[in-house]
């Protein structure tokens, strides 16, 4: 009887070793809907503010496609930040900065042209 119990214990321990030898399941991820949450990163917050200001200044008229791209980028950055992809978020923030600068310059140029048009 003891021998039986010994063999049983030996088999169970061997099975446990086999299972323990497998990769562990990763942690649960987040950030999939981070655009619905608050922005915690300072740089991202600044960019969001620029984006909001650009929209208020008529970016949807003077740089509509760029505004869509910027919105997309902003959403991606917020997801990446929330999902822990900090490096990728930093790179995308660089792209967003360029896009925001482009939008702002177009808004400025369009406002000058519209003022000239009103004068003439």
């Amino acid at each position: 009887m003891e021998r039986i119990l010994m063999a049983l214990l030996l088999a169970i321990s061997l099975s446990g070793c086999a299972i323990l030898k497998a990769e562990p399941w990763p942690e649960r991820g987040t950030g999939g809907f981070a655009e619905w949450t608050e922005i915690t990163d300072e740089r991202a917050r600044t960019q969001m503010a620029r984006l909001t200001k650009a929209r208020e200044q008529g970016a949807s008229v003077y740089a509509a496609a760029d505004l869509v791209d910027a919105d997309m980028l902003m959403q991606r950055i917020r997801r990446e930040l929330a999902g822990g992809l900090v490096t990728d978020a930093a790179m995308d923030m660089g792209s967003l900065d360029e896009k925001l600068s482009l939008i702002e310059s177009r808004i400025a140029r369009s406002s000058i042209l519209s003022r000239r048009g009103r004068r003439s």
């Binding site: 039986i4 099975s15 299972i19 399941w25 649960r28 997801r79 992809l85 900090v86």
Partner: protein, 706 residues
Amino acid sequence: MRIVERIAAVLFSFLISFATLAGEPETKLKIGDVLSIELPGEAAFGKPFQIDRRGVIQLPEIGEIHVKDETLASASASIRNALKHAFRDLDKLTVSLKEQKLLVSVHGYVKNPGNVELAADATVQMAIVAAGGLMQGAQLDRIQVKRTNGSSQEIDYKKYLDSGDMSLLPHLEPLDVIFVPASPLTGKVQIDFDGKTLAAAGDGGEERTAVKVFGEVNTPAIFAWKQGVTVIDMIMRAGGITRYAAPDQIRIINKGAPVIFNLASYLDSGDRKLLPDIEPGATIFVPKQVDEIRRGALTVYVMGEVAKPGAFETRDGATFIDILANAGGPTRFSDTRQIKIIRSNGKVEMFDLPSYTNGKSGAPPKVSAGDAIFIPEKSDTQEPSWLKIPSSRAVQVMGALYKPGRYEWSDDMSLFDLLAQAGGPTAHADISNIEIIRNEKDRAHPIRFNLETYLKGGGSLKDVPRIHGGYIVMVPELSQDPVDNKAQWTRQAPEKSIYVMGQVGAPGRYAFKDGLGFLDIITAANGPTGSADLRNIRVSHRGQAGARVTNVNLSLYLQTGDERLLPRVKSGDVVYVPDKNRESIDQPPSRMVRVLGAVTKPGRYQFTDDMSLLDLLAEAGGPTTDALQDRILVVNLSSGQSQAHAFDMLGFAKTGDISRVPVVRAGDLVYVPNKNQDEWRQLREEARDIVQAASLFSIISALGLK
């Protein structure tokens, strides 16, 4: 007594006769002689008694008595004898020769023809004068004097007039008949004409010897030949040559033998050897200049549409305008824009006279001896003979014009002039692609001109291609039907086409031109189909230095209206609208998310940042029944920071906690494991196997122990 009277009379007659013989020779009375018969106391005498044409005189109371050819003495005796019957005391009768007269007749071309009474020594000239003089048209060199004995003598009265030689005129005798003939030039019809006309007609009365001078002389006529006369004399008599005469080609026929006389050479050299003799009956013909081919060291030829074409002698300093003016100037039928100067060395130069007169071109060409100036005829646009315009002066206009054809060209004209002359482009003309083929050195070089852009936007006139003679202008035609143009696709040049492929209503090859846009061609192709992937329309830009492809997100354009999203397309570009339902293996991985494992439709899916993991799973048909739904794995692939996270879909569905949804980006991987991959389950199954094995081993051992 009577006997005594007779003896006395005979004695008297003898004495008279003797006295006459002793004093002067006895002359016989002639017709016309005038006798003086005196008888004192008788009034019937004392007047002259002229011997009339019959040779008689009329004596009073007696009548006629013939005294012609009698001597004066015999005549006196005869008179005395006749008078003794009617008169007494005839001793005092005296008969003397008072004077001698000449009775002749003048007929023919004299003013008062008839009998004339002349002095005894009168000449033919006096007779003619007595007859009133010559009439115009009298032939002077053939005046005839006819005697009573029937003889006739012809005299050259003109020669007498020229020389004064009296011997040329015959001594007239009574009853001579002088006949003045009419010149043959007077013709057979009597007309009154003046001396000028008569002189102009010449004086050649004798056809056998007269010299005929005609052609380019001022008064062609027949002239009398004279010994020693020269061709110069005859030409001078004919009034000299006209300005149209060819003085170097004067033709003379002497006794049937032709001779060419070069008056110009004679005048240049003065060599009398060059002067041919003129034989009686010679013919002199002075031809026209144009009848002969003139050539010389100083000759310039003017041909074509001028008033007086021909060869002209030029001198140093004579300009083109001088020569043209001497030729009478261009006629109204001339095309003065295309004057050709054919040089003596064979080269041809063009000259535009209207352009010169308008001050647009420089000096007229210098014309040298041996050159030829040709003024062509102005061609009519309706002229059926197109061969009259050489290729160098014509432009061929073809294609979609109302009046295509071959048009005469002048470099003063422009392309617009030509198109207007051709009736202008038709409604189907593609004026944005006018092709101009210019010929240079037997090679054709095409030029393309966008008339539509020029007309809309304007521009410098220098931008308009210059047209020259020999060019070809082609105005292409637009495709009649852009959809069904298979039969005519070869007529559409590739460089004028744009290609539309993929998910559009009517893919194909479309005529395209500058000014049209991306939406134009998409719309022309009936727009995208329902399965078109509007986010990934691709435009391949051809004809550039390098390859360039633009990805067009038409969906975003339709969403935002931002024109900057639409690419600038040109002829030759290719537009491809992909199918969104097609497995997009050609999509780059950076735009795709791979969904693997226990899902209904595993595969690659397009992913944009506005999508989420839930969208992906839905796109992939959702997890299968054996999916391990609480451990869906998301692998974020990145060059700098790759990581994996799990997603508990079951837990998310139960709670709705959005923070439990992991981030997914394009390029990431989603793996949905199945339940067999759960470790605890594996552990349970393995434990169950072990227990079963142990149970079996225990049973066997127990049986063995017993």
